[in-house]
C-alpha cells in the first residue's frame, strides 16, 4: 500500500557516517531518515516501511553551526548501582570543562520533501493483522497529525512538520536538479541486533527525484 507525505523543516542533518563527529549532512534525505518519519506516525512489529521515492521540493541550502556537546557516555554500571540504591547522580553537564566538546556542523536548511513509501507485513504479523487495517490506521493518523514521537529530519533536535498528500491534490513540483550523489547510506541492517551493519546504495537525483531501490535488491550493498 503506497502513501505520500510532504515534510518540511527549518533544519536537517542527514549525517554522513565518515563525518559523524564534525557533522556534514548528505545533500538529500536518506531513505533511513524518511522511513523514520513514517515510523513516527505508525509502526507496529507487524509492519515494515519501505521508502520508494523521494522528491526534493526546496533548493538545497546549507548552514554552518557549532554546538557544545559532551564527550563521555553514562556508564551502565552507574545506572545499575543507582537503580539498586534507589537514588544516585547520573547527570552530565555540558558546562563541565572536561566533558565539553564543541562540534561543528554543516547542516541543510529550509528543507521540504515529498516522500512516497509503502509498507508490508513482517513475520511478526498475526492472523488478525491485515494490510487494510494498518492502511486505514495510518491514513487516519497522518490526516489528524497523530504520531508516537515528533518526526525529525536526521537528528532529533531538527523536528519537522508533515502532512498527508491525497490523490489529486495540487502538488508543488520538485526542483530542477540532476546529479550523481555518490554512495549514500541506505539504512542499517538490524538482523543482528547486537551489531547492526550499514547498507549503502548509489543515489542519483534526476529532475529533483531520487528513486530508492528496495532493501532486498542488488543495488543495496551491505
Amino acid at each position: 500500500m503506497g502513501f505520500c507525505l510532504e515534510v518540511s523543516g527549518d533544519f536537517a542533518c542527514f549525517t554522513r557516517p565518515e563525518m559523524k563527529v564534525e557533522r556534514v549532512s548528505y545533500d538529500v534525505i536518506t531513505p533511513s531518515a524518511a522511513r523514520s518519519i513514517f515510523d513516527a506516525i505508525l509502526w507496529k512489529p507487524a509492519i515494515e516501511w519501505q521508502v520508494t521515492k523521494i522528491e526534493v521540493l526546496n533548493p538545497i541550502r546549507w548552514i554552518n553551526l557549532r554546538r557544545n556537546e559532551i564527550k563521555g557516555v553514562i556508564s551502565a554500571s552507574n545506572v545499575r548501582s543507582a537503580m539498586k540504591a534507589g537514588c544516585g547522580t547520573l547527570g552530565f553537564y555540558v558546562d563541565d570543562g572536561d566533558n565539553r566538546q564543541q562540534r561543528a556542523g554543516l547542516f541543510l536548511r529550509d528543507v521540504s520533501y515529498r516522500i512516497h513509501a509503502e509498507f508490508s507485513l513482517t513475520q511478526a504479523a498475526g492472523a488478525a493483522d491485515l494490510t487494510g487495517k494498518y492502511a486505514e490506521m495510518f491514513r487516519r493518523r497522518a490526516k489528524k497529525g497523530q504520531c508516537f514521537n515528533q518526526p525529525y529530519l536526521g537528528c532529533r533536535e531538527f523536528s519537522c512538520d508533515f502532512s498527508l498528500v491525497e490523490e489529486g491534490a495540487d502538488l508543488k513540483s520538485p526542483i530542477d536538479d540532476t546529479r550523481d550523489l555518490g554512495w549514500m547510506m541506505y539504512d542499517m541492517d538490524y538482523t543482528d541486533l547486537k551489531s547492526p551493519t550499514p547498507l549503502f546504495f548509489r543515489a542519483e537525483i534526476k529532475n529533483g527525484v531520487v528513486l530508492v531501490p528496495s532493501k532486498n535488491s542488488a543495488e543495496v550493498r551491505g
Binding site: K20, V21, G72, Q101, R103, G182, W183, P196
Partner: protein, 590 residues
C-alpha cells in the same frame, strides 16, 4: 561526495606519471640528509638535500619513502621504518639538546635499542631480497663500526645534529634513486603492507567490499590543528561511537580508499601549493575534475597575492574576464566539475566549513558577477581587491584573527552560489564605519555596494542598482543625504583649512542613523562656512551643489534603516571620489 571527489583527484594525478602522488604503502617525507655509500658499504659522504626557499629558510626535499606506520607507546623503539628513520635508529645517536652536549645515559640506552630494531629490519629485507645492491651496502655499513665513525667525523654531521630528530636515509653513489626506492624494496613493501585483522565491509566511498581501515591516516596542513595531524573521520571519544562500534567501524572506508583520499588531501594542503589558500582560520583547497587553469587562478580571487608575485590578482582577473563574454562562460571546458573545500580546525579533528561543487563555467560566471558587483569608482593605482582584503575591513583593527569565521564561510558560499551576501556582513561593515568615525574606505564602499546590489537583484528586481560612479539622478534619500554630508564636509574643510576634526568625526554616526536630529545643525553651520570661504567665487558653486542635492530631498527622515545607511555610505564615498576623478584645476569646486 567529499571523499569520493578526493579519491578521483588522486586517480587523476596517478594517470600522469610526472604528477603521480605516492602509491599505496609509500609517503612523501622530507629527508634533510642522505648517507651516500658505495656498493661495499663504505661511507662516501653525507649529502645535504636542503635548498633555500623563497623566504630564505632551508627546506629539505621530499622523497618517496616506504610509509612509516604509527609508533606510539612504551615499546615504540621496536618499530623501525625500512631503510629510513631518524639518527637514533640509523646510527644509535642519542638525542641531544645541543650538538656538542653530553647525552643522557637513558637516551643512550634508548638509542641503542632503536638502532638494534633498525638493523633487524634491514636484515629481514636482506633475507627476502639478498640480491639488492643497496640493501647489501646498508647491511655492510651498519655492521661496520669504522664506517659509522667515519660518518660522525664528516663535515656535515654537526649540521645534521642541529636538527632535532633529523631523518636520514641511504643512497648508493652510482644510483639515481634512494636505496628504499629500488624495485626490490618496493616489492618488499607491497608484500608487507600491514593489514591488521580488521573486518571486511562495504566501503562507503567506493561501494566495494574490502578490509575496513581502523584508523585513517592523518591530515597535516590544516592550520590550527595539532602538529601531529588531525583526521576528518575520527571517533576519539566514547560519545561519538554508534552501536558500540569503535573507531573506523563507525564509518566503513576501505584501507585503499582511506590512503587515497588522505594522500590527495595532504598533497592539496601542502605549503606552497597553488591550489590552497587561507581565509582566517579556514584552510581552503580547490581542484577541478580535469586539469584546468582555474585551479591556480582561483585562490587569487580570495586571498592576497604572494609576495613574490603581486600581479597574481590582476592576472587572475584577466583570466576570468577573458573567458567570459556578456557574463557567460565561453571556453569548451565549461562542463568540468570544480570543487572547493573549506576545512576548519578543532584540536585533533577537522570540521568541514563549506563544500561547494559546481562546474567551471558556473564558478567563473559567479566570480565574474562578483567582480562586477564590487566595482566602484576608485583611483587609478588601486587594484581590484581580493575577498580577504574586503573582509578584513569588517574586523577590529583590520586583523585576520578578528574576522568572524562564520562570516567568511557564509560569504564565500554566497558568492559561489550567486546568492545575496549575508545580512551580517552589511551590518559589520557599517558598524566598523561608525566605530572608526566615518572611515568609508574604498574596500568598505565596494562591499556595501555589492551587498545592496545583490540583495536588490535577488529579492526586488525592480529596485535600481547602485551605480559604479556618482549618480546625480539617484532619488533614494539615503544616497542623497550621504552626498550632502560629503559636500558639507568639504565646505567646512575649505572654510577652515587645517582643521583637526571635521563634521565627519563628530557627526557621521548620527547623520547616517538619525538625520533629522543632526542635519538641522549642519545646515545652520554651513551658512557660516559659506561666508568664511577664502575665495568668494567658490560660494556660488557650493550653493549650487547643495541646492541640487537638496532638490531631491523632501524632508530629513528621522531614522535610516540599515540599507539606507549603506546607501548613505556609498553616496558619501561617491561624492568624495568625484572631486578626485575630475581635473583638479578647479580646486574648491565640490
Amino acid at each position: 561526495m567529499i571523499l569520493q571527489a578526493l579519491c578521483e583527484y588522486y586517480q587523476r594525478k596517478a594517470l600522469d606519471p610526472q604528477e603521480a602522488l605516492a602509491p599505496f604503502g609509500f609517503e612523501e617525507k622530507e629527508i634533510p640528509f642522505l648517507i651516500v655509500l658505495n656498493s661495499d658499504g663504505k661511507f662516501i659522504q653525507l649529502l645535504d638535500t636542503r635548498d633555500k626557499d623563497a623566504v630564505g629558510k632551508l627546506r629539505s626535499r621530499s622523497h618517496l619513502v616506504p610509509k612509516g606506520w604509527g609508533r606510539q607507546g612504551s615499546k615504540s623503539y621496536e618499530i623501525a621504518y625500512p631503510l629510513w628513520d631518524h639518527y637514533g635508529y640509523v646510527l644509535a645517536q642519542p638525542k641531544l639538546d645541543k650538538p656538542d652536549a653530553a647525552p643522557n645515559p637513558k637516551d643512550v640506552e634508548m638509542a641503542a635499542k632503536q638502532h638494534k630494531a633498525f638493523c633487524n629490519i634491514v636484515d629481514s629485507i636482506y633475507e627476502v631480497f639478498p640480491n639488492d645492491k643497496g640493501v647489501f651496502a646498508v647491511k655492510a655499513f651498519l655492521a661496520n663500526e669504522v664506517e659509522k665513525d667515519k660518518l660522525k667525523q664528516s663535515a656535515d654531521w654537526l649540521e645534521c645534529l642541529k636538527i632535532k630528530g633529523c631523518n636520514l636515509s641511504f643512497k648508493l653513489v652510482d644510483a639515481e634513486y634512494l636505496v628504499c626506492q629500488s624495485p626490490d624494496v618496493k616489492r618488499w613493501v607491497a608484500q608487507s603492507i600491514k593489514s591488521d585483522d580488521s573486518d571486511t565491509g562495504v566501503c562507503l566511498v567506493s561501494g566495494e567490499r574490502a578490509s575496513i581501515a581502523r584508523l585513517h591516516p592523518v591530515i597535516k596542513g590544516v592550520g590550527g590543528t595539532q602538529s601531529g595531524g588531525a583526521a576528518i573521520a575520527s571517533f576519539n571519544k566514547d560519545s561519538f561511537n554508534s552501536w558500540n562500534k569503535e573507531q573506523g567501524a563507525n564509518s566503513p572506508v576501505s584501507e585503499k580508499t582511506a590512503f587515497e583520499y588522505t594522500t590527495a588531501l595532504n598533497y592539496l594542503l601542502r605549503t606552497q601549493c597553488p591550489n590552497r589558500f587561507q581565509m582566517g582560520e579556514i584552510s581552503v583547497v580547490c581542484w577541478a575534475e580535469k586539469n584546468n587553469s582555474l585551479e591556480q587562478a582561483f585562490p587569487n580571487f580570495f586571498t592576497d597575492p604572494p609576495s613574490d608575485n603581486p600581479d597574481a590578482g590582476v592576472a587572475a582577473l584577466k583570466h576570468i574576464a577573458g573567458s567570459l563574454h556578456n557574463g557567460a562562460y565561453q571556453q569548451p571546458d565549461g562542463k568540468d566539475k570544480f570543487y572547493l573545500l573549506g576545512l576548519s580546525p578543532n584540536a585533533a579533528r577537522i570540521a568541514v566549513r563549506f563544500w561547494q561543487v559546481g562546474t567551471v563555467a558556473e564558478f567563473s560566471e559567479r566570480i565574474g558577477q562578483w567582480f562586477s558587483d564590487i566595482e566602484i569608482s576608485k583611483s587609478e593605482k588601486q587594484l581590484v581587491p581580493a575577498l580577504k582584503s574586503l573582509l578584513r575591513t569588517t574586523a577590529l583593527l583590520g586583523e585576520d584573527k578578528n574576522m568572524s569565521p562564520h562570516l567568511v564561510g557564509e560569504t564565500v558560499r554566497a558568492i559561489l552560489q550567486g546568492l545575496p551576501l549575508p545580512e551580517n556582513l552589511l551590518q559589520s561593515v557599517i558598524k566598523r564605519i561608525k566605530a572608526e568615525k566615518g572611515a568609508v574606505t574604498f574596500y568598505r564602499a565596494a562591499l556595501i555596494k555589492a551587498c545592496l546590489n545583490r540583495k536588490f537583484r535577488f529579492y526586488r528586481q525592480t529596485e535600481q542598482e547602485v551605480t559604479v560612479g556618482l549618480n546625480k539622478d539617484e532619488q533614494r534619500v539615503g544616497y542623497r543625504l550621504g552626498r550632502l554630508f560629503a559636500v558639507l564636509e568639504k565646505l567646512q574643510e575649505d572654510a577652515n583649512p587645517g582643521l583637526n576634526a571635521t563634521i565627519r568625526d563628530r557627526y557621521y554616526s548620527s547623520a547616517s542613523c538619525t538625520p533629522k536630529s543632526v542635519f538641522g545643525t549642519l545646515m545652520r553651520l554651513h551658512t557660516h562656512h559659506l561666508k568664511k570661504l577664502p575665495n568668494p567665487a567658490w560660494q556660488g558653486a557650493a550653493e549650487k551643489n547643495i541646492g541640487e542635492i537638496m532638490d531631491g530631498i523632501k524632508e530629513f527622515p528621522s531614522h535610516l534603516n540599515l540599507e539606507e545607511q549603506g546607501l548613505f555610505a556609498v553616496g558619501y564615498y561617491h561624492q568624495r571620489q568625484h572631486r578626485f576623478v575630475k581635473n583638479e584645476s578647479t580646486e574648491g569646486a565640490v
